[in-house]
Amino acid sequence: MDTSVTATRAKIAEHAYRIRRNALRMGEVQGQGYIAQALDIADVLATAYFHAMRYRPEDPAWEGRDRFLLSNGHYAIALYAALIEAGIVPEEELETYGSDDSRLPMSGMASYTPGMEMSGGSLGQGLTIAVGRGLGLKRKGSKSFVYTLFSDGELDEGAVWEGLMSAAHHKLDNLIAIVDVNNQQADGPSSQVMAFEPLTEKMQAFGWFTQRIDGNDLDAVIAAFDAARNHPGPEPRMIIADTLMGCGVPFLEAREKNHFIRVEPNEWQLALEALDAGRTA
């Protein structure tokens, strides 16, 4: 690996560390939160915001920006962590997470937060909005990409498949979707709640340029984003990211898998220390 690639990777890794750190600090404010998901998706968000996407922190509505649509609104804690790291949301607002009158509510909503492009929460909607945005950008002659993140649990929703069909039908080569496969949803492992494999073959059959990667292997994530952007074909682009809930904090990684993991008051500091230990390791 040449030095520029190594430097790029090191830079993104540092951002990923800081996104995880921001998320843990927000979790501590409320004493709860979808912290395991935030930790699993941090590498994807770091790559999106510090490698792939064009945006202006001082002007979140800049017309030339790439759009990022968070379909799984409960991952807001992760996206806020990235928006803070990107300088779109001031770091001091981290202390307000989930509190009254905060711009950082527990579930992501477009009208509350700079840089939040859609109101999630009712799962399975992001891809349909992304399709409309992709059509709208093409009609304007824009070169911007639409990124949308959704979770494996959202694959249960029929509207996701409406979006998958239509994105290929309309040849939305400006659309990059990322599925977070952490195999966990409200009632249990996603594969047991509603079997969704073989996912790569399904996405390919739906007409998407599809890559499946370890979503916590930063080199793989970077390569997948590059390939998605540079793919010469007319297909929409899908990145299936297999991720590890709690990634970066070993005792949370090892905790019994749950959609909403329990973190004891004294564990937040331990989690930050574990994260720091992993960073220097």
Partner: protein
């Protein structure tokens, strides 16, 4: 089983898209489609989107005029609404069409969350409102207004005829924000041109004055009310008609003023279930203001409606001209 003979009477149709126009009634073809084409020439931000019902919502007229501004989203109403939201985020003004049942019952959460919550400039035009098809409950949107009234930030419109629709299209485009509009398609009756009337968003209009009865109505029921007024004039019953094409926001001041004039029976007539539509909206407004005229409601029952020919069903459920006339005369004693 008896054999069919040449004398067998022609059966009335329960076909899905039978015209609501009466025999010999003046009509205008596809007023929505033509009005949208005209407006789109001045407004490049307008795009048309549908869920496999362009031909049955008159959007095909727009698609023919502006093929590059027409988007077929397939038979997928949730996608239709979500994609319209995304398009509106990018500065377009989508006019989206489907049947009222599919928008309001199947894609409600998508309209609520992706369009209304963000106050997006999406115009949702839905054919087969209320009881305007004999096809049965799968296609009869008897509760669409109740559902859409309850959605925050949504403007709700129920036009009467081709003139109303023609004037409604530029008015909703001028309005910033989401709009749900009931749509009459195909050969649409033309009625209001005989009166001194102009559609204004948010305004109720007294189309005809009368001393004995005030019918407050929306949609095709205004057409029916005007026919009732003519019929009852022969019995020396003087019927006024207040047309309320904008269901939300409701023109409360005009309604209170007209309903508050003493000595008239107030009848709300709506092509909608008794629950949650114009009748209940007006009753609430009257009670809140302490205006308490004699009040009656003509509306569809809280029931799954029958399949059958529209004239049959309109008689059965009391919203035909004849049935309404009889009902109102009965109330007058």
């Amino acid at each position: 089983m008896s054999t069919a003979t040449a004398q067998k009477p022609k059966l009335k149709t329960s076909a899905m898209i039978a015209s609501i126009a009466g025999d010999g009634q003046r009509t205008q073809a596809a007023p929505f489609g033509h009005a949208l084409v005209k407006l789109a020439a001045e407004r490049p931000e307008i795009v048309g989107m549908t869920a496999d019902l362009a031909k049955y919502t008159d959007l095909h007229i727009f698609a023919q005029a502006y093929p590059e501004r027409f988007y077929q989203m397939g038979m997928a109403e949730q996608l239709l609404m979500g994609a319209a939201a995304g398009f509106a985020h990018e500065g377009a003004m989508p006019f989206v069409t489907t049947y009222a049942v599919f928008a309001t019952r199947r894609a409600y959460d998508f309209m609520h969350q992706t369009i209304a919550e963000d106050g997006l400039n999406v115009k949702i035009a839905c054919a087969l409102p209320g009881l305007t098809t004999g096809y049965g409950p799968s296609h009869q949107a008897a509760e669409d207004l109740a559902l859409m009234r309850a959605m925050p930030g949504m403007t709700v419109i129920d036009p009467c005829d081709a003139l109303d629709i023609e004037q409604m299209v530029p008015a909703v485009a001028e309005h910033k924000g989401p709009v749900y509009m009931r749509l009459l398609r195909g050969q649409v009756p033309l009625v209001l041109d005989e009166y001194d009337y102009k559609f204004e968003l948010g305004k109720a209009k007294l189309v005809r004055d009368g001393r004995d009865v005030l019918v407050i109505s929306s949609g095709i029921m205004t057409m029916r009310a005007l026919e009732v007024a003519k019929a009852l004039a022969a019995d020396r019953v003087d019927v006024g008609v207040l047309h309320v094409p904008t269901i939300k926001p409701l023109d409360t001041s005009t309604i209170l003023r007209e309903a508050g004039r003493s000595g008239r029976l107030v009848v709300v007539a709506e092509n909608h279930t008794t629950i949650g539509g114009l009748g209940e909206a007006i009753a609430t407004a009257l009670l809140r203001a302490g205006v308490t005229p004699q009040f009656r409601q003509i509306a569809l029952p809280d029931a799954f409606l029958d399949a059958g020919a529209l004239p049959t069903l309109h008689d059965r459920y009391g919203i035909s001209t004849e049935a309404m006339s009889t009902t109102i005369k009965g109330w007058l004693g």
